[in-house]
């Protein structure tokens, strides 16, 4: 049994939306019993910008390092105006930052800015994802079932990236900024990258092409037989991969394809 009627709730919702719009615009509002002048709206907006900036500093440390504090805060404002947060958890906000960076003036000086931002976000998400421990019993399927009918589900923290920039070096640059960041250069062929979290710390690793193709195939739920038929002739080491994958908690489960 609720006390407030749906009409009253709607009227309150409209008033609260008006206040939010004024705060985001930094403009005065007079509505019903409430008065907010522009200076007061700016106080709220400033608080929100600071929280937004602080949140993005956690999730995009490389971008923060490359842009510096002032440009980074301006970036936070751009994102706030374009995609205001809606989840009640600042840690979930920022997915669209790489898209905002596509048109950022610093992208000319740092052409790797967007892929670096994508890597920052992947690392951030991997660090927050639920632990999905290996379902040990499902490994038996490898002994009993036809590989044609089997695939491997990777842990939720695993993701793949491909870039012609040395993204691991660029991400590590934030810890040792002696190097000129404009010296990171593009390579002929794309470099394949695995983001994963063996325990609490997210790790990054460049992959050989066959390892990358194998992981990509698993992400696409291809059968083990199909993938091994494609990759074994070129020397893919499946037992070695399984050993690495189990030690680093890359595998959630082996499962039959339905």
């Amino acid at each position: 049994m609720t006390r407030v009627s749906s009409q009253q709730r709607q009227a309150l919702q409209d008033a609260q939306s008006a206040l939010v719009a004024s705060i985001l615009n930094g403009t005065a509002l007079t509505r019903g019993n409430l008065n907010m002048n522009a200076g007061q709206a700016q106080v709220y907006r400033r608080n929100i910008v600071l929280m937004a900036r602080n949140a993005l500093e956690v999730s995009f440390p490389t971008v923060r390092g490359l842009l510096g504090p002032e440009a980074f805060e301006q970036l936070a404002i751009r994102l706030l105006d374009r995609d205001p947060p809606y989840a009640g958890d600042w840690g979930l906000w920022g997915r669209s930052l790489p898209a905002v960076l596509c048109r950022h003036e610093a992208a000319g000086r740092f052409p790797f800015l967007v892929p670096a931002a994508r890597l920052d976000w992947r690392v951030h998400c991997a660090g927050r994802s639920a632990a999905t421990p290996l379902q040990q019993s499902t490994l038996q399927l490898l002994q009993t079932e036809d590989l044609e009918d089997l695939t491997i589900d990777l842990s939720s923290h695993c993701s793949l990236l491909s870039s012609r920039y040395p993204l691991i070096g660029i991400r590590e640059w934030q810890h040792n900024q002696a190097l000129d960041p404009t010296s990171f250069t593009v390579s002929e062929a794309p470099r394949r990258l695995l983001v994963f979290r063996p325990q609490y710390k997210v790790e990054l690793r460049y992959l050989r092409d066959d390892d990358y193709q194998f992981l990509l195939g698993l992400k696409q739920s291809r059968s083990l037989a199909d993938l091994l038929e494609q990759l074994l002739p070129d020397g893919f080491d499946f037992p070695g991969w399984m050993d690495f994958a189990i030690r680093n908690q890359l595998i959630y489960q082996v499962r039959t394809l339905s």
Binding site: T2, R3, V4, Q8, R9, Q10, A11, L12, Q13, A15, Q16, S17, L19, V20, A21, I23, L24, G32, N33, L34, N35, M36, N37, G39, Q40, V43, Y44, R46, N47, I48, M51, A52, P84, P85, Y86, A87, G88, D89, W90, G91, G127, R128, S129, A130, A131, H157, R197, Y200, K201
Partner: protein
Amino acid sequence: MPSNQGYSNACIGVGLRHAHYEQALSQPSPLDFVEVHTENFFAAGGASLAVLKRASELYTLSLHCTALGPGSARPVPELNLKRVSDLVSRFDPLLVSDHLCFTWSSLGAQPVHLGELLPVQRTEASLDLVSDNVDRIQEAIDRRMLIENISSYVEHSAEEMPETEYLSELVARTDCGLLLDINNLVVNAHNAGADSPEAEVIAWIDALPQGAVGEIHLAGFTPVASDEIAVDDHSQPVSELTWRCYAHAVRRFGAVPTLIEWDNALPEWAVLLEQAARARAVCERSTGEAIR
């Protein structure tokens, strides 16, 4: 059971923030509890939950929510409520609290949550709404929650219900408790141009029903000129004015759990412990005077 109980009859805690994890969690400090912002531990996995588990081994926890927004006309999503209730179930905190504010809203059809504590209009209709929301939250967490008074940067009209009356009625309707934030009162008194902020804060405290206050927050803010807007930035030591009002509050409400909050320009952990020690001394002295 954490071993930090029983330093005195007072119950004094500190807000635990990321910068202090290493110092605070390497060995227990002389505190009765630590308070964390619940939303910082919403992640499904990773290091943050391990940090909270470690904190719970050393200290009694208090979960302070900053995002549920019980004043929101747009309903709090079930998922967020579940995240809070899951943490409450898992860590069995001493206290669970949020603010008299709204956070969930919309721009057109787009949902928005700005992460800021936005003021509610103190009308009968909004009191009905907040009461419904507090009922829903308390049902979800299966315990009493505390509602904190906020610092507000809007002007409330004289036609609105006084804040103390509004909060008292909320307590009567929902059986929630109150989290008395004295620094927020000082900030509001400054921003309202009060002739005597101290008198205003004390009158506000005296207007609350005895027994309603379940926790007190103490903090400091960056000083500004009298004609400038003060911002509740939790960046300074507790002011002398706030200490005096705190002494008055514990004489009135007893030795309720008291927290030192510091969120920006964080000092060394030892500075927070000094502030906590002072709160303990003020609480013991003032409640002793009240008993005599």
